[in-house]
């Protein structure tokens, strides 16, 4: 069920038996180099904040008596980051049950992924591990997007702060939209989704007209506005923007063409490949949140120097060119004069630093990078008054780093969200890898437990759970996957589970449409994550990623 993180707030009793209560809500960061906004070169100053609000920034400020002092010597202070679009802390809605008279050619809205009345706040948990992960890398706020189909619901702006506080800053920020079709029913494809989108939009306008007439003229039949139309009203009245997730250039064009046709306010998020639409983004004035990620370099790294034909070398060159080009996209967006934000949708917190430094190494200015993390999303989300820069009166959302933010060796020591200070361990400078946090040595036992997996296919991603356990000395278990017979999940036993060194391999059978086929999954396990492929006879292989969400406690 949904977990309401913020209802956990309890009224403070006179005493605090837990011992966790803060001594003070007043803080002073002394003698730090403060970078107030993108482009600011920084100057030594003291930062005061109390009750979650910045109360002063400057040199020579007197420190209030009740303030806890954070020694800022040698530290750098920046405004904390704002995530333009994510699913941090968001759980999936329960699958709706099909009704008896279900007709796949005309399904009810909630089964077809059309649930604009849903709110991200109902699916958000501030106690989620993801909140910690993203805060740790500098994010203090995020626009969270509900999970679902073509119109999954309304996004919310949340504070990634202390779970005891109410996280919601603003409940209805934008209406989320995807080009994702519904499984086994109308609309099933991008083509169907676009047609259905127009239908929903136009009928929401007509519903408003009907209501208006009903309110002003006697004898008009009663309006029967659907929950979909009701929820879409602020969108068609151009009060609530649509936050369209568009990965590719073609998807971006499709969203913009719908916008031109229908006239809603549009924000694009999750952009991954957008080189050829930069001009269109600029000319259409569309706000964009690009994916905070750079492409993986596996294909580049696997290129061999010797023993390959000229034709292969030519192919290598093209992949290399595409790779280099893709790293430069953010810089090109800046060059075109588009102010953009970042979206962390489908990205990993641990890759953020590398993604940013790669973009900067490929021409993105540090100023634009910081703006994309702070002022730009603040402006798109309409919160510039309270966030984005360090100023007296704004929310006390800031980060303290050991070195200038974008320096390779820079580490985050504190993240402050709503005036709550989160401390992070800073590693001594050494040659050790940044991810030296205890990775347990891999053994056969360590694959046991419950894994969450995602398989990427050309039509989108699909996922479920894998349970691996040892019975009578043999590894086995089960896997859940999207049910071929309709909505919901199906599950199958896994077989032939083998662990060789770091490699895990298993198979399972799927039957659908009267056919049965064996799916093989294999990959490399590193700590709690697995990367590999899912392959099907005659169909090819697809990327497969899994994380061990609850390791077995057996030993």
């Amino acid at each position: 069920m949904m977990i309401f993180g913020w209802v956990m707030q309890v009224s403070w009793a006179q005493s605090d038996p837990s011992g966790k209560r803060r001594v003070t809500s007043s803080f002073a960061i002394t003698n730090a180099t403060v970078i107030k906004s993108p482009g600011d070169i920084g100057s030594k100053a003291t930062v005061l904040f109390k009750d979650g609000i910045i109360t002063g920034i400057g040199a020579g400020l007197s420190i209030p008596k009740d303030a806890k002092v954070i020694s800022g010597d040698s530290l750098f202070v920046y405004p904390a980051f704002i995530d333009g679009g994510s699913n941090i802390g968001i759980s999936e809605p329960m699958d709706d049950e099909s009704t008896k008279d279900f007709n796949s050619s005309n399904p009810p809205d909630e089964l077809a992924g059309i649930t604009p009345w849903r709110m991200a706040t109902d699916f958000y948990s501030s106690a989620s591990n993801e909140v910690d992960e993203w805060r740790k890398v500098g994010f203090a706020m995020s626009q969270v997007i509900p999970e679902g189909g073509m119109l999954p619901g309304k996004t919310a702006l949340v504070s990634l702060g202390d779970p005891k506080n109410i996280a919601i800053i603003q409940a209805n920020v934008a209406m989320a939209a995807n080009f994702r079709g519904s499984r086994g029913m109308y609309p099933g494809t991008v083509a169907g989704v676009m047609a259905k989108f127009r239908d929903v939009y136009q009928n929401s306008i007509l519903a408003l007209e009907h209501e208006k007439l009903f309110a002003s003229v006697a004898g008009v039949k009663r309006p029967q506005t659907t929950p979909t139309q009701l929820a879409m009203a602020p969108v068609v009245q151009k009060q609530l923007p649509i936050l369209f997730t568009a990965n590719s250039e073609l998807e971006a064009r499709r969203a913009i063409s719908l916008q031109k046709e229908l006239g809603f306010k549009l924000i694009l998020t999750g952009l991954e490949n957008y080189e050829s639409v930069i001009d269109l983004i600029k000319s259409s004035g569309t706000s964009v949140m690009i994916k905070l990620q750079v492409p993986d370099d596996k294909a580049i790294k696997s290129q061999k120097e010797e023993g390959v034909t000229e034709a292969t070398k030519a192919q290598y060159a093209r992949v290399k060119e595409a790779y280099d080009q893709s790293l430069k996209q953010a810089a090109n967006l800046e060059k075109a004069g588009v102010s953009f934000g970042f979206s962390t949708l489908d990205t990993k917190a641990s890759n953020v630093h590398k993604a940013l430094s790669t973009m900067i190494a490929n021409g993105l200015s540090e100023k634009a990078a910081l703006a994309a993390l702070t002022t730009n999303p603040a402006s798109v989300l309409g919160i510039s008054r309270i966030a984005g820069t360090l100023e007296k009166g704004k929310l006390a959302n800031l980060i303290l780093t050991t070195e200038p933010l974008f320096k390779e060796s820079s580490q985050i020591k504190h993240v402050i969200v709503d005036g709550y200070v989160f401390d992070y361990e800073v590693k001594k400078k050494s040659n050790s890898a940044p991810n030296s946090s205890a990775t347990p040595e891999n053994s056969e036992n360590s694959v046991e437990g419950v894994w969450d997996y995602v398989s990427e296919t050309p039509a989108g991603s699909s996922g479920g759970e894998i349970t691996i356990k040892k019975e009578n000395g043999v590894l086995g278990g089960s896997i859940s996957y999207d049910d071929p017979a309709g909505s919901g999940k199906a599950s199958a036993p896994i077989k032939n589970v083998t662990v060789t060194g770091k490699n895990l391999k298993f198979e399972f059978d799927v039957s659908a449409g009267g056919m049965s086929f064996t799916v093989t999954v294999s990959g490399e396990v590193n700590g709690k994550s697995m990367e590999g492929t899912l392959s099907l006879p005659q169909m090819g292989s697809f990327p497969f990623n899994a994380t061990l969400s609850s390791p077995s406690q057996l030993n």
Partner: protein, 463 residues
């Protein structure tokens, strides 16, 4: 100032046509070719001058205006760009197979200008293709007529914006299998297919009436009428009844072809083309009398029950009965040698050179409603042209250069090995999705049962 510009654009209804300005048009002089005009006979050692994408002069001893490149085509053959009236090249989605009528779906929404099939088609001399919705539904989506401007990044740049609207219909086994047997809804039989069409049109008439009634009442004093629900599905069917859209109907058997002719007569629909039409030879006079003809395979059949009664003489019989007849590909492979497919009508039926060439040029142009713009070499037409090394109906013919709007998009001499427009940064070799039956035409792409099971489980692309 800028505001005024946008206002003017909106005023002239040009808002959506920004991209049209991007479409490139070229000028070129092709000299000393054997010009196969298709509609006006052959000209030996003739020159064709193209200016700004339009054929402006045909004759002898034309000199190139300054700045216009001249290409010597001595000993070579120049013919109009080949037109494929049935293709699925450059579409990200072929079937929205989830309902028996999906006339609201637009293939123009899912055009993918990066698909390599466009270049391969150009290498086979094809300059225009009809990117159709699949045949899973009785009434499928609206199709897109494409101009093969390879290299364009904006889908709008390869859509032939001045071509009329067309829509896919499908009769027989496909819609009855997907909806009747697959989902337990109408249509389960050929009778059901006819009922779906007739009910659809009748509903469309009611829909149109409801909006007309509302529009008339809307501004009268004390009006209590409320707007009817918007329904693009029915609006599109109403547009067909109003003669705004050409039907292209997937069909095989003579009885179902004749059925649709009767339905069209009852609803006064004049713009109707049959696709595949394997038993067209049995009802050729009826097709000739009432429709815009048939678009057929040269010799392809027996891939399912309803396609067994077939003959390679089909095209010739239709043609000689006066039906407008074209030869199509419905395949990313056949599209590369449609000139060869057209030549088969000479082996099976003894058609003349002009009749055979018309099957892949002016006739499909007529069926797509673009015969005033392309399909033959005439002054004033768009300069979609192909140069062949020998007569295009010869078994040895190889296309040398292909032009769209006077721009050369294919040149056999400058044919790089890797013509991809879009290369993945993260994959060494792009994944190739093998279809269960590679030989099958793509009409049922996305719907194959095995694929369906796979799609359902892992691709989330359900039908």
């Amino acid at each position: 100032m800028k505001k005024l510009f946008y206002l003017l654009l909106a005023f002239f209804g040009l808002g959506c046509n920004f991209s049209q300005a991007q479409v490139q048009k070229g000028s070129v002089l092709i000299k000393n070719a054997t010009v196969l005009t298709v509609t006006k006979g052959n000209l030996e050692s003739a020159d064709v001058l193209v200016q700004n994408g339009i054929i402006t002069q045909i004759g002898k001893n034309i000199t190139a205006p300054t700045g216009v490149q001249a290409i010597d085509a001595t000993g070579k053959y120049l013919m109009p760009g080949i037109i494929d009236a049935h293709s699925h090249v450059a579409l990200d989605v072929v079937n929205e197979a989830s309902a028996p009528i999906t006339s609201e779906v637009r293939m123009k929404d899912v055009v993918n200008p990066f698909e390599i099939g466009i270049y391969r088609a150009l290498a086979g001399g094809v300059t225009v293709s009809h990117a159709m919705h699949g045949s899973a539904n009785v009434v499928g989506g609206q199709n897109a007529t494409l101009k093969h401007r390879w290299g364009a990044k904006d889908p709008a740049d390869i859509i032939m914006q001045d071509a009329p609207r067309t829509i896919k219909f499908a009769l027989g086994e496909n819609p009855t299998r997907v909806h009747g047997r697959g989902n337990g809804i109408q249509p389960r039989s050929r009778m059901g297919v006819e009922a779906v069409i007739r009910n659809g049109f009748n509903e469309a008439l009611q829909y149109k009436k409801a909006w007309e009634t509302y529009a008339a009442a809307k501004n009268t004093k004390g009006n209590t009428l409320t707007p009817p629900a918007y329904n693009e599905r029915l609006q599109t069917l109403a547009d067909i009844l109003d003669g705004k859209i050409i039907i292209h109907c997937h069909s095989y058997r003579a009885d179902e072809i004749y059925m649709l002719i009767n339905v069209a007569k009852d609803f006064n629909i004049k713009k109707l083309v049959f696709q595949h039409t394997n038993e067209g030879f049995k009802v050729a006079p009826e097709i000739a009398e009432y429709t815009m003809g048939a678009s057929v395979f040269a010799d392809w059949w027996a891939y399912k029950m309803e396609v067994y009664y077939s003959t390679a003489f089909n095209a010739a019989i239709l043609q000689r009965n006066g039906a407008i007849t074209s030869i199509n590909s419905d395949s990313a492979e056949l599209i590369r040698h449609l000139y060869h497919e057209a030549a088969k009508t000479q082996r099976y039926g003894g058609l003349t050179d002009d009749e055979a060439l018309a099957m892949i040029t002016i006739n499909p142009a007529k069926q797509l409603g673009i015969e005033d713009k392309v399909g033959s070499i005439e002054v004033g037409k768009q300069a979609d042209l192909v140069i062949f090394d020998s007569h295009p109906l010869s078994s040895y013919a190889v296309p040398q250069m292909t032009f769209v709007d006077g721009i050369k998009y294919f040149d056999v001499v400058a044919d790089k090995d890797d013509q991809r427009q879009l290369v993945s940064a993260t994959e060494m070799v792009e994944p190739i999705f093998l279809r269960a039956n590679e030989e099958a035409h793509r009409c049922m792409q996305d719907v194959e049962i095995f694929l369906d099971a796979f799609d359902v489980a892992f691709l989330k692309e359900k039908h």
